[in-house]
């Protein structure tokens, strides 16, 4: 049983998705999806534990040997990502039943959970697999279900947002596919491990170079790197609130995982950072992303939009950490991956609660919420502080490592710019705080009550995680350190 965990991690949610159809009552479907997601979380915990003690796990699908059969490969990096995805999915799903009552018609609830599980399975698959083509397959599974999920949004603009995401996402996926096709043509293999050994022989060819460029651009579209981020704000803003919380915390993280996987594991560090001027490219794009998106966030009227832009800015931080291409830099990126998932899921879940109570998340609707929904607003404040990077929250930990990595490399101006960028976060977070706490409640909104427990519990679980992992960093630091070191080929494989 334990030996089959790598495949169970993916197959459990995938098989569970169609099973939802057999359950009649929405509440049952929800419970079922929750249990499945919880199982996935449990599996990922065991996997992480195994990987940390005894190194990477290789699982051959159907017993076929590696270059011919599909291989699942769980190393520290993928185990870490699996944990993030399944944990966030489970916590978010907890609030789903209440939240979609008001946002999605009852006859589509089952569909919602099916798509949710498929999307989850797709993301887990991308991370678990060791096969380049399999990556594409899972990418499509997760993306297609995500498009449909976004289109379920109550606002009619959700359709347009989903369509926009569909177009951009498909272009991205196609680029990745073209890239994979080209390297297959050159090496005759799709297994990542195999690829990494055969690619150096043909590294000088134009085809490999083209393949690399296609894959990088495709992945960057998926991870919404500035200026390829245009699909993201609307998709996040008009999707059902639960889906925003889920996708914001996981989808872009998976894309970052792909970026790291392809550059470090498949193409190799020396190839990736010498063929294309990746370092300078990513520093510049990352920093412009931080500034452009944070500034845009300041001017948003819809709070979901605001945090969506903030997500793009946060991706900028991860990309800067990546571009440093040292162990510390990569650690910063991985830490921020984890930490940002915690912050954004907490924040978007709190927005879901606001949506549930007042039916909208325009900034003007936040007036007086500090008194009416004190616990939800407190969660937003703490999440916001974490976003700014105040000590004792997770945001501080990742910022510390990022600055340290940048300074180690001697990039002083970049360090200053990163810190200046985080000031913009102060501005957009404080706009919400001031509206919620200093403006009198809107007329006719006296009846607004605190969010129900089915929201408060998951929100505060995430908020406490934001503080807990900001104080006790042993787990996150240890895992990211080992993962970063193994990607650089030092330390245990």
């Amino acid at each position: 049983m334990l030996a089959h965990l790598p495949i169970l991690q993916v197959i459990v949610p995938m098989m569970a998705a169609p099973l939802c159809l057999f359950l009649t009552r929405p509440r049952l479907v929800w419970l079922f999806a929750l249990i499945v997601s919880g199982l996935a979380f449990l599996i990922s915990c065991i996997l992480l534990q195994q990987v940390m003690t005894s190194g990477a796990i290789i699982y051959e699908l159907g017993g076929w040997d590696a270059p011919w059969g599909i291989e699942y490969r769980i190393d520290q990096l993928s185990a870490f990502l699996l944990l993030i995805i399944s944990a966030v999915s489970t916590v978010v799903l907890f609030a789903a039943h209440t939240s979609i009552q008001k946002e999605i018609p009852v006859d589509r609830h089952t569909l919602f959970y099916i798509l949710y599980l498929l999307s989850l399975a797709g993301m887990l698959g991308i991370v678990a697999t060791g096969d380049a083509f399999n990556v594409f397959v899972f990418l499509e599974i997760s993306s297609l279900s995500a498009y449909a999920l976004i289109a379920l949004g109550k606002d009619r603009r959700a359709l347009w947002a989903a369509y926009q995401y569909l177009i951009m996402g498909t272009i991205g996926a196609t680029f990745i596919l073209i890239g994979i096709g080209l390297i297959y043509q050159m090496t005759g293999t799709l297994n990542m491990n195999d690829l990494s050994m055969r690619l150096p022989e043909v590294a000088h060819t134009r085809t490999v170079f083209t393949a690399f460029a296609f894959i990088i651009v495709g992945v960057c579209l998926k991870l919404a790197l500035f200026p390829l981020h245009l699909w993201l704000p609307n998709a996040y803003a008009y999707a059902p609130s639960i889906i925003t919380a889920f996708l914001a915390a996981t989808a872009t993280k998976v894309a970052i995982y792909l970026l790291i996987r392809f550059t470090f594991s498949v193409f190799g560090l020396s190839f990736s950072f010498t063929t294309l001027p990746l370092q300078i490219l990513f520093v510049v794009l990352g920093l412009s992303g931080i500034f452009a998106a944070s500034t845009a966030a300041i001017y948003q009227k819809n709070v979901k939009h605001l945090f969506a832009y903030s997500s793009i800015a946060q991706i900028g931080y991860m990309i800067v950490g990546f571009s440093v291409s040292t162990t510390t830099g990569l650690m910063a990126t991985l830490l921020h991956l984890f930490n940002h998932a915690l912050m954004k899921s907490a924040l978007f879940l709190a927005l879901a609660a606001v949506m549930y109570r007042i039916g909208g998340v325009q900034l003007s609707q936040f007036q007086g919420l500090g008194r009416q929904m004190p616990l939800t607003m407190a969660a937003i404040v703490i999440g916001g502080l974490s976003l700014i990077g105040v000590p004792l929250t997770v945001g501080f930990v990742s910022k510390w490592y990022l600055i340290l990595a940048v300074i180690e490399n001697g990039w002083w101006p970049v360090a200053v710019l990163i810190l200046l960028g985080s000031l913009l976060a102060v501005v957009y977070v404080w706009r919400i705080v001031e509206t919620a706490y200093f403006k009198p409640p809107l007329a006719g909104s006296e009846a607004i009550k605190e969010a129900p427990l089915s929201f408060l519990v998951p929100i505060w679980v995430l908020v406490i995680a934001n503080i807990y992992f900001g104080i006790d960093t042993r787990l996150s630091i240890q895992v990211t350190q080992v993962a970063a070191q193994s990607l650089f080929g030092v330390g245990p494989p």
Binding site: P391, L404, V426
Partner: protein, 496 residues
């Protein structure tokens, strides 16, 4: 009770934060709530006095909590400088609580529970700063202090309060995130440690340019020290209720700033390195300019609290100068001035609050002839002003004395002149207030209102702090001993 000193050290940080919970729980019953606050104050004072006795007997008191990041630990240590700060803060917290009970009730302020809760957390943070054993721990509590005082600044909830809060948070948070944090990470990168060590953490062969830049980052980053041009938050914070201005913006928050400056100068750079850095001179002149300019601005303020705020900016410059002079007299002067200015300025703020509550006046121009109505308050104002100016019979004399000695030792003649001129300016903007109150000159509307002082708790509080100003003049030895011990004793222990 038999509690070990190490436990007391931890409790002095945790207790005020726990008390915040108690205050929330008893929020509906004001008397009980104030009871919780007062008893916490008393216990905290008991702890700090015990800790003082402890280090006086040469015991080393330190506690390690856990590592937040590898190599960066939350740890605490009692050393003389922190002891001075902790003693002042815990003593004045007690006095301020007594004062604010009178003030808040007679002023019928809203949200009093939130007020006491934030106050309590702020004091816990101050204790954390005072006893921090490394920069990392200090930084964490420094930020907590900023955030916990924000609701106090915006207490009134008005548009003006919101604006004040914006400036307050904007400046303190941005300087600390951009400069302070960068300085800390750079120090970590260059020196490999953030522990406070006697003589500093940098190697003797450290690149002085780099260290000089880091020093500038520190001085700019510690926005709470209110060196111009990062001083605007302090006048902005004056929208807060007077007890907040008194304790936090004359004692706890600003003193946390200059305390941090002093701590960084003495225990991160060390005075030997500090004196050879290329940027020290520039920063000294900047602090000097801050002293003079703030005094000049203070003269033009008609709002009493605003005038006191600018006076604080100017006085904080003294402490920074003392630290940057990098001589032993300078360090003694700075640490003594932290105490002297605390008592003087809190008295002045108490008086301002008393005048507001009893006579409903906040403008200086309206205070002519007020001495008949509030003789005690105005007398206290006079004595406290003397302490700020630095003339006998008030405590400020001593710190100014050592500061002038420090400038002479370091042969900083320009700064010496700056300090002299500043004293004259102090006279010009402080003394006219009590003088005109007692001797209005022209006979103002001579409606004899009789004596109408502030509520009794407030009056008692301001009498105590005034008395303290005088006592510190007559009997400054304990303070001086502590201040001297900062530099002389190795290993951060003191006594014998």
């Amino acid at each position: 009770m038999n509690i070990s000193l190490a436990t007391m050290l931890q409790l002095s940080i945790i207790l005020p934060i726990l008390a915040a919970l108690g205050i929330v729980a008893t929020g509906r019953k004001p008397d009980l709530r104030e009871g919780v606050t007062i008893s916490t104050c008393l216990v905290l004072l008991y702890f700090t006095v015990n800790l003082y006795q402890g280090i006086k007997q040469g015991e080393s008191i330190n506690v390690q909590w856990w590592e937040i990041l590898p190599g960066l630990q939350l740890s605490f240590n009692v050393e003389p400088l922190g002891m001075i700060f902790a003693l002042i803060a815990s003593f004045l917290w007690l006095i301020t609580t007594v004062y604010s009970i009178g003030y808040m009730r007679s002023h019928q302020e809203q949200n009093q529970t939130r007020f006491y809760v934030c106050f309590s957390i702020a004091i816990g943070s101050v204790m954390g700063i005072a006893f921090a054993d490394n920069l990392f721990t200090l930084f964490i509590f420094y930020e907590t202090l900023t955030l916990s005082t924000y609701p106090l600044v915006t207490h009134a909830g008005t548009e003006e309060a919101k604006k004040g809060g914006r400036i307050y948070l904007g400046i303190l948070l941005s300087t600390s995130i951009v400069f302070f944090m960068l300085a800390i990470i750079s120090t970590w990168f260059v020196a490999g440690t953030l522990d406070f060590k006697p003589g500093g953490v940098f190697d003797s062969n450290v690149n002085t340019t780099v260290a000089g830049v880091i020093l500038v980052l520190f001085i700019f980053g510690i926005g709470k020290a209110a060196i111009m041009p990062f001083h605007r938050w302090l006048p902005a914070a004056m929208v807060a209720p007077t007890p907040v201005s008194a304790l936090l913006h004359a004692v706890a928050v600003v003193k946390a700033g200059v305390f941090t400056v002093l701590k960084v100068c003495v225990f991160i750079f060390g005075i030997d390195l500090l004196s050879v850095l290329p940027t020290t001179q520039f920063l000294l002149y900047l602090a000097g300019a801050s002293v003079l300019l703030a005094s000049l601005v203070a003269m033009r303020q008609d709002n009493l609290k605003a005038r006191l705020a600018y006076s604080t900016v100017s006085q904080l410059g003294y402490v920074t100068i003392g630290a940057l002079l990098a001589t032993s007299s300078g360090v003694i002067a700075s640490s003594m001035h932290i105490a002297m200015h605390a008592f003087g300025k809190i008295t002045l703020f108490f008086c301002a609050g008393a005048i507001l509550v009893a006579a409903h006046k906040s403008k200086i121009s309206e205070m002519r002839g007020l001495g008949r109505q509030m003789p005690i308050t105005m007398a206290a104002f006079f004595i406290a002003s003397l302490s700020i100016i630095g003339v006998p019979p008030a405590g400020g004399t001593w710190s100014k004395w050592f500061l002038l000695m420090g400038t002479m030792e370091a042969e900083q003649w320009i700064l010496m002149a700056v300090l002299m001129i500043s004293s004259l300016l102090n006279i010009a903007y402080l003394l006219p207030i009590p003088f005109r109150a007692f001797f209005p000159g022209v006979e103002t509307n001579s409606v004899n209102v009789g004596i109408k002082e502030a509520p009794l708790p407030s009056l008692i509080a301001l009498c105590i702090t005034t008395a303290a100003c005088v006592v510190l003049f007559v009997y400054p030895q304990p303070l001086y001993e502590l201040a001297k011990a900062i530099l002389t004793t190795p290993g951060l222990t003191y006594g014998q």
